[in-house]
């Protein structure tokens, strides 16, 4: 199982093994990583699973599609490396991925 590193805004790190096929959001919710709320359950509607992809991983993870891009505009403090974690599917390729969590989802 790929290992995903979630780094909270205050620097707290969570190293979590997430199954292939799960989303980065699900990996956080299932393991009680507080910085991700995921209110809409992964339907790309609420922007409460907003995260920043570590710059080393941006190219591999790729960018948002048009719908996600629109929803990201709703997020607090969106940046160039912003993604909705519910829209990033975990694969072996993403083993070691580093996800930075925003200060707040609201």
């Amino acid at each position: 199982m790929p290992l995903i590193k979630y780094v909270e805004h205050n620097g707290t790190e969570h190293q979590i093994q997430v199954s292939n096929g799960q989303s980065v959001m699900e990996g956080a919710i299932d393991n009680m990583v507080d910085g991700i709320a995921g209110e809409c359950g992964g339907s790309c509607s609420c922007a409460t699973c907003h995260c920043y992809v570590h710059e080393d991983w941006v190219a591999k993870v790729g960018g948002p599609n048009e719908i996600e891009e629109g929803v990201l505009e709703c997020a607090a403090d969106p940046r160039a490396n912003s993604r909705l974690s519910c829209q990033i599917t975990v694969t072996d390729e993403l083993d070691g991925l580093v996800i930075l969590l925003p200060e707040s989802q609201y």
Binding site: E26, I29, D30, N31, M32, D34, A37, E39, C40, G41, G42, S43, C44, S45, C46, A47, I67, G70, V71, L72, E73, C74
Partner: protein
């Protein structure tokens, strides 16, 4: 080992119950936590049931709010397939359907809501379904035939979302709405007309101002008879005519109830040891200055956080702006606030022929709500406008050539 023997009991297997159990641990509740649910499953997301779940894009496993292991790790005990038969407020205990009695120090009612039943002949025929829980959705999934013809009774969000989904998988759909227009109770005339138009463009037949008087068929449904005498062929009927809060337990023990268990801004009921949250609770909303009951996930989540704090004797006021979402076809609707009592609607974008616009609802010149279709930036702008005392010129809000981000900056 748990550090003390305080008992928290949460009644219900709803989204609110799931959140409350977790939030209790986050609020450092050190005693026992028991969740009693009459469902056979751990709590799951309900919104996808009328959306991606029916089409098979989402699996049942993906619906679970948290995996069972999380509750186990957090020492949250779940009793599934179990009902609470009785609550004894004097002795602070509940009697369960398995005959067991359990003591509580704090009790939470997260009993949710159930579908409003339609009392017409034929509703018991095979092929007639409501859509509220996973069992319903599973049954509909089984019943879907690729060359099928479905009649949906009720043109609210659930009915229209289901219609969109069934169209996506190639089923003929007819929606019956008893009122003069779809979404009549929840949105402006122009927005109803918008959804009517898009559904028609997608091939859904919509009949308004007619209601179903009978469902006919031998054993299996064959058609729906309408109030105008017309009979519409169908091998699948889905009824979506609203929900009723489950307040019987609360009523039975004399708590204040009025279309929901009445709670204050701390999710406390009229009994200091009992909280309520989610669809079953009617809370005092500080933004709108009155009591409201919300059927929404954000409400279930945020109110449960408040309820958990109250159970731990901490004050965390619930003061969140209500918001909702509905996905149909390529339309991502985000609703900010409650539009009741508005006296004017102003539009941004073309509601008549495009698929992207905002309806701003105004009451005495102030924005009280907004329907944002494929307009996420305006949605955040709407939330800010409603929650703050700030205002922007109506002409600017209506002017689609002014970028939404510019308006957001003007507000900052």
């Amino acid at each position: 080992m748990l550090k003390n023997t305080k008992q928290a009991i949460i009644i219900g297997g709803s989204h609110a119950a799931a959140q409350l159990s977790i939030s209790l641990r986050q609020e450092r509740w050190e005693g026992e936590i028991l969740v009693v649910s009459d469902d056979s499953q751990f709590p799951y997301h309900r919104p996808p049931l009328s959306k991606d779940y029916l089409s098979g894009d989402t699996s049942a496993e993906q619906l679970f709010i948290r995996p069972a292991s999380v509750y186990r790790d957090k020492q949250i005990e779940f009793l599934l397939n179990t009902r609470v038969e009785k609550i004894d407020r004097i002795n602070k205990s509940v009697t369960l359907s398995n005959g067991e009695a359990r003591q509580y120090d704090k009790l939470a009612l997260c009993t949710g809501a159930r579908t409003r039943q339609l009392a017409i002949p034929g509703v018991a025929l095979n092929g007639v379904h409501y859509l509220r829980d996973l069992t319903d959705a599973e049954a509909i999934k089984q019943a879907i035939q690729s060359n099928g013809k479905a009649v949906i009774i009720g043109g609210g969000y659930i009915g229209l979302e289901t219609a969109a989904l069934l169209r996506k998988i190639g089923i003929d759909v007819c929606v019956l709405e008893a009122m003069g227009r779809v979404l009549q109770r929840v949105t402006a005339e122009e927005v109803s007309a918008f959804y009517h138009r898009v559904h028609t463009e997608e091939g859904v037949e919509i009949k308004t101002g007619v209601f179903a008087t009978e469902i006919v068929g031998n054993d299996c449904v064959e058609g729906v008879v309408c109030s105008n005498g017309e009979q519409i062929d169908a091998n699948l009927v889905i009824i979506g005519v609203g929900v009723i809060p489950n307040t019987e337990l609360a009523e039975g023990i004399g708590l204040d109830v009025d279309d929901g268990v009445i709670v204050n801004e701390f999710a406390q009921t009229s009994d200091e040891h009992i909280v309520a949250s989610g669809d079953c609770a009617a809370h005092l909303n500080l933004i709108y200055g009155r009591r409201i009951r919300l059927e929404s996930v954000p409400n279930a989540i945020e109110q449960s956080k408040t309820a958990a704090a109250s159970m731990c004797d901490r004050e965390k006021v619930y003061n969140a702006l209500p918001w909702f979402w509905s996905n149909q076809y390529d339309l991502r609707l985000q609703i900010a606030g409650l539009n009741q009592g508005f006296d004017r609607v102003v539009f941004r974008g073309d509601v008549e022929s495009s698929r992207s616009f905002v309806a701003w609802y105004l009451k005495q010149g102030s924005i009280v709500a907004a329907d944002c279709v494929n307009r996420p930036a305006e949605f955040i702008l709407a939330k800010k406008l409603i929650s703050s005392e700030k205002q922007l010129p109506i002409a600017d809000l209506a002017n689609d050539s002014i970028d939404a981000k510019t308006l957001l900056l003007a507000l900052a």
